[in-house]
Amino acid sequence: ADDIIIGYAAAITGLYAPYDSVDGAKCEIDRINEKGGVLGRKLRLEARDMKSDAIASAAAGQELIDLGATAILSPPSDDTSIPIAALAAPMGIPVLSVASTQVQFPAAQPENAYLVPYGDNLSAAAAAEYAIKLGYKNAVLMITRDIGSYGLALPEYFGDAFTHLGGKVLKKINFNTGLSDYSAQLAEIQAMDPKPDVIFGGFITPDGGVFPRQFKAAGLGSIVFMGTDGYDDAGILKIAGDSASAIKFITHGFPTPGSALEEFYADCTKRGYQIQNIFFGLAGEGVLIIKTAIEKAGSAEPAAVNAAIKEITDMKGITTDEITFKDRGGVPIKRMAIVEVKNGAFSLVDHILPQYVPAP
C-alpha cells in the first residue's frame, strides 16, 4: 500500500527555529515503521521549512496538502499556523502545532487545529500552584512582546492563578528578548521593598539564564525565577552558571529513568539523532498522536483522523502519560513536570495537574 504522509511545516530557520524539531518527528516515524507502520502502511514525513514567515508557511502548508498529507504538524506561532489550518480545513486535515502552547491557534480554527502541548493557562496555573506551595507570597511578572502571547499572556495567567491562590503580584516589568543587558530591570527590582520571592515570565533561552545570572551578580541571588517550557533547554544551565539554582519551571515532561521520554531519547540517540531539547520529544509526540488517531479511525482519511483526534482520552504519550483531547477544544489536558536545578543539572520535582485553571 501507499505510504501515509505526515506533513511538517517546520520552523527550520528564522525566529522560531529553536522550537521545532524535524528530527524528533522523523525518529518517531522510524520507530513506528520499524514495528510495521500503521494499518499495515508505512508513515512518511514530508518536512518543509516555513522560515518563520507567514507567507512561506502558507505555501509550505499548501504543498503538504497537495502532497496528500493525512495530517500536518505546524510551527510554533499562531500567525503562521492559522493559515495552514484554514487551508486544510475544507479537506478536514488536522493541523497540530508541535511547540505552540498558545491557545489562540485552536481557538481560531476549532474544527481542525490542535496543540500538541498543554496550553499556557494550564502551565502557568501549575507554576502558580507550585509557587504557593513553596510559600512564595510576592511575585513580579516579566512581560515581553517579542515572542507572541507566550511572553505576554503566560505571565498574566500566572498572575491570575497566583492571586487566586492568595499570592500577590507586586509589579509587572517589561523587557525585550535577546538583549545582553537587563540592568535597568534589575535596578527596578533592587529598589523594591519588599522584594519579590519569585519572578515569573515567558522566558526563553538565553534570556531565562541571563536574568538570574545578572541578578546573582548584583546580589539578588535569592529571588527565584520561574517559567515554563522555554526554560527546558540544557544550555540554560551553563548560561546561568551558579545562578541556575534559582530556576524552577513547568514543562512537558522529564526523562526520568524508566519514563517513556527517557526511552524515546535513548532509542533516538541510538538511531543517530541528536536530542536538542524537549521539542524533540514533542515532535515525536505529535506523530504519535496522529498515529493513535489513524488507528482509532481505522483509516488514514484526513477527516476521519481529525474526528478521531477529538476523541482521544488518556493516551500514553512520549513526554507524559496522560493526554486527553476530548472536549478540550484542541488544547489537550496533560500532566506536566515540575523541574528545578540541582547540582548543575535539571531534576524532576514532581508531576502536576493544577486545580485552578484560568480561562484562556
Partner: protein
C-alpha cells in the same frame, strides 16, 4: 537616591556599549562611506570564536577575551577582502545592501554549521563580580566597560587626528585614488580601519558575552541597529559624535525603562525612536555635526 545612582551607572555602561559599537561603525563610515550593517556580525564571530576554541581546548576563560577580539578583527579583515573592497566609493545603498548580504551569509553559515539555538559560552567569573566603591556595590563589568570605552575612544581619536595613517584614513573616505597618488597603500589604510573596527567590536563582544553568557547567530543585529542610530544621532561623520550619540541613546533608554510607568514602557522603543527622529529633524547633522555653510563647495 540609591535607585537613581544605580540607574545612572547602568545608563553609563549601556551608553558605553553603544558608544563602542557606534565608534566602530563610524570609523568605517568616515573612511569608506560604508554603513557597515555587518558590524554586528563581528560581535557574533567574536562570540563563536570563543565557543569553538572552548569546545576544542581552552585552559582558562581568561583566554576568551583575546580570542573574541582576535576573532572579530580577523572577521573584519575578511569582510573587507571578500566584499567591501569591491564596492569602494559606491553609493550608500550599494554599501548597505552589500553589508546586509555579508551579515545574512554569516548568520546562515552559523545556522547551517552550528545551530539556530543559543549556545552557552564561558567568560572569567570576576567579570561578573561586584566591587565596593564607597557605599555602593558596583558590578566590575560596568565599571570596566565605561573605563575601557573611554580609553579606547581617546586612543582612537589620537590615532586618527595625529598620525599619518589616521590622516590617510580620513582622506581615503573622499578620494581613494588621490590617497594612492600620495604613494600610500590605500588598501592597507582601509584594512587598518577595518582592523580597528574589528577591535572595537571584539571589545564589545567580550562585554556582551560576559553579561549574557550565550551566543546565537543573530546576537549582532540589535546592537548594530542601536549603533547605527547612535551614529546618526551624534553626526555620522564625526567620531566624537558617535560616542556622544551612543551615550545619549543608552542613557535615554535606561532612564525611560527606569522611570516610565509600566504600561508605557511597552512603548519604550517607539518613544526612543520618536525622540531620535525629533532630534534629527531639529539637528539634521546630528548632535555634534555642525552645519557649515559651504555654498557650492559642499561635496
Amino acid at each position: 537616591m540609591e535607585y537613581f545612582v544605580q540607574q545612572v551607572i547602568n545608563a553609563l555602561s549601556v551608553g558605553s556599549e553603544y558608544a563602542l559599537l557606534a565608534l566602530g561603525l563610524a570609523i568605517v563610515f568616515s573612511i569608506i562611506g560604508l554603513v557597515n550593517f555587518a558590524h554586528g556580525e563581528l560581535i557574533t564571530v567574536g562570540g563563536y570564536a570563543i565557543f569553538f576554541t572552548a569546545s576544542v581546548f581552552l585552559p582558562s576563560p581568561w583566554l576568551a577575551l583575546p580570542i573574541a577580539i582576535a576573532g572579530a578583527m580577523v572577521a573584519a579583515v575578511v569582510f573587507e577582502k571578500v566584499a567591501f573592497r569591491y564596492i569602494r566609493n559606491a553609493s550608500t545603498n550599494t554599501g548597505i545592501l552589500t553589508a546586509f548580504g555579508v551579515s545574512i551569509v554569516v548568520q546562515n553559515a552559523f545556522i547551517i554549521f552550528v545551530a539556530t539555538r543559543p549556545k552557552p559560552v564561558e567568560t572569567p567569573g570576576w567579570l561578573s563580580s561586584m566591587v565596593e566603591v564607597g557605599s555602593y556595590r558596583l558590578p566590575v563589568l560596568q565599571i570596566l566597560e565605561t573605563l575601557v570605552t573611554a580609553i579606547a575612544i581617546g586612543a582612537l581619536l589620537f590615532v586618527l587626528k595625529k598620525t599619518t595613517v589616521g590622516m590617510a584614513m580620513r582622506a581615503a573616505s573622499k578620494d581613494f585614488i588621490a590617497v594612492r597618488l600620495m604613494g600610500i597603500k590605500a588598501n592597507s589604510v582601509i584594512q587598518a580601519a577595518f582592523v580597528l573596527s574589528g577591535f572595537l567590536a571584539g571589545l564589545a563582544a567580550v562585554f556582551i558575552i560576559s553579561r549574557r553568557g550565550a551566543i546565537d547567530p543573530f546576537m549582532g543585529s540589535v546592537p548594530v541597529l542601536k549603533a547605527f542610530v547612535a551614529c546618526v544621532l551624534g553626526g555620522l561623520t564625526s567620531l566624537q559624535g558617535a560616542v556622544v550619540g551612543g551615550m545619549a541613546l543608552g542613557v535615554f533608554e535606561v532612564m525611560l525603562q527606569a522611570f516610565l510607568p509600566q504600561e508605557v514602557t511597552a512603548f519604550r522603543d517607539a518613544i526612543v525612536f520618536t525622540a531620535v527622529a525629533v532630534v534629527l529633524v531639529v539637528f539634521p547633522e546630528g548632535l555634534l555635526g555642525r552645519k557649515v555653510e559651504l555654498g557650492d563647495k559642499e561635496a
